[in-house]
């Protein structure tokens, strides 16, 4: 299994996560999964299994069903056929909504509130039992290279800055499964590099990453090509 070695001993926050709670022995399994939209089956007979530290990249042409599949993984769309399950060392067969971060096209930030207010709300809302994140809205935005925007209303931010605010959610509530729909959209080169580092850290911790993307993510990942053959 390709694991990225990071100096975990220098990061006490990551060490805690690595050893206990939902990050221990997580696996996500797809059995003959079929996903549809509006009565039409878009994806059929999908089989794969992901364990600690593995990433899956979903690729395919526009309209192939990437976003629909990711919504199903996040528990927002019941599978039309088959099974999608996540088990952890803590307890088995948990709801995806309790273990996964879902980052879709919409950023889920209120324009009238500041970045800090938005992030504090999601931090409280998305927290799951287990070790709490040591991140604050300030430190999470700093990790994403935008510490100066923390007290600005989101309405005043650029598209790339809004994306960074949304990505900061991933750090504020530690969850073992990241489901990212086009995470690189609107990010500049330095933002992409920072996100790449965060994804590597997440995988090194033992987390799982599922992303739909057209651009290369820069992490070692299984490839799932939709619209061509179907299952990988």
């Amino acid at each position: 299994m390709p694991r990225i070695d990071l100096p975990l001993e220098t990061r006490p926050d990551l060490q805690v996560l690595n050893q206990q709670g939902p990050f221990a022995a997580i696996s996500a399994t797809c059995e003959t999964l079929g996903v549809g939209r509006g009565g039409r089956l878009l994806i059929e007979n999908l089989n794969f299994s992901l364990e600690n530290g593995r990433a899956l990249v979903v690729a395919g042409p526009n309209g192939a069903g990437k976003s629909t599949l990711l919504r199903a993984f996040a528990g927002l769309l019941p599978p039309a056929k088959g099974r999608w399950s996540i088990t952890t060392g803590a307890s088995d067969a948990q709801e995806p909504g309790a273990l996964a971060h879902y980052l879709g096209h919409a950023e889920a930030s209120k324009p009238a509130l500041t970045a800090r207010e938005n992030l504090e709300f999601w931090r409280a809302m998305l927290a799951i039992p287990g070790p709490a994140s040591l991140h604050t809205p300030d430190s999470a935005l700093k990790a994403l290279g935008a510490p100066q925007i923390v007290d600005l209303p989101v309405a005043y931010l650029s598209a790339g800055q809004r994306r960074r605010v949304a990505l900061a959610r991933l750090l504020l509530a530690p969850r073992p499964l990241w489901i990212l729909d086009e995470p690189l959209t609107a990010l500049d080169a330095s933002g992409q590099a920072l996100l790449n580092t965060l994804m590597r850290e997440h995988l090194a911790l033992g987390g799982i990453l599922i992303a739909a993307t057209h651009a290369p993510l820069g992490v070692e990942a299984l490839q799932l090509m939709l619209g061509a053959e179907g299952a990988a």
């Binding site: 996964a100 879709g104 919409a106 950023e107 889920a108 930030s109 509130l113 709300f121 409280a124 809302m125």
Partner: protein, 224 residues
Amino acid sequence: MSASPLAALFLREIRVARRIGGGGMMGVVFFLILVTITPFAIGPDLNLLSRIGPAILWIAALLSTLLGLDRLFQADHEDGSLDLMLACETPLELIVLVKCLAHWTVTGLPLVIAAPLFGLMLALEPEAFWAVAASLLVGTPALTLLGAIGAALTVTLRRGGLLTAILVLPLAIPLLIFGVSAAASATSVTTPFMTPFLILCALTLGALAAAPFAVAAALRHMSE
């Protein structure tokens, strides 16, 4: 600091409503407009005004509650927040209840406080003030909760405001009947206050128990 999810949600809703563009004050201003123009339309007949005053206040409260309700879930649906709320561990029914409570605190509670003041413009008897305020205090939460059902059913529609009103009005008619008769009882000798008031309380408690489940079911269905 780690606040509980529901407390954080309540705080966020209040903040969003109070900021510019949140529409928190829209309901009270609309209420004021309706109550202000009524005496001009009806004329200076004080006896007539004080007789229909409670009904005018209740109609104004009903319409101004409906006015802001269509954005209750739509804004969250458009910016993706609703997806995260649907998926998160906190039961959706509780999230709905807290959102309705926050919405009522911002739009319904000011109406209750303002109603006696606006009653002056409608030549209400002083002893009718408290009856109007009490009936609105008990009745407006039910208006918000019933309205939330309509708002949830029209969450994916762009201009769902009118449809929300059409869906909700039949459900709101019992509230209107008992609310107005409780509010008017202070000045009439035929109706006692407690009978319609207690029925109004019962309707509100029923809405409080049932509406969050209906709203949550509608939101789950509409988001698929």
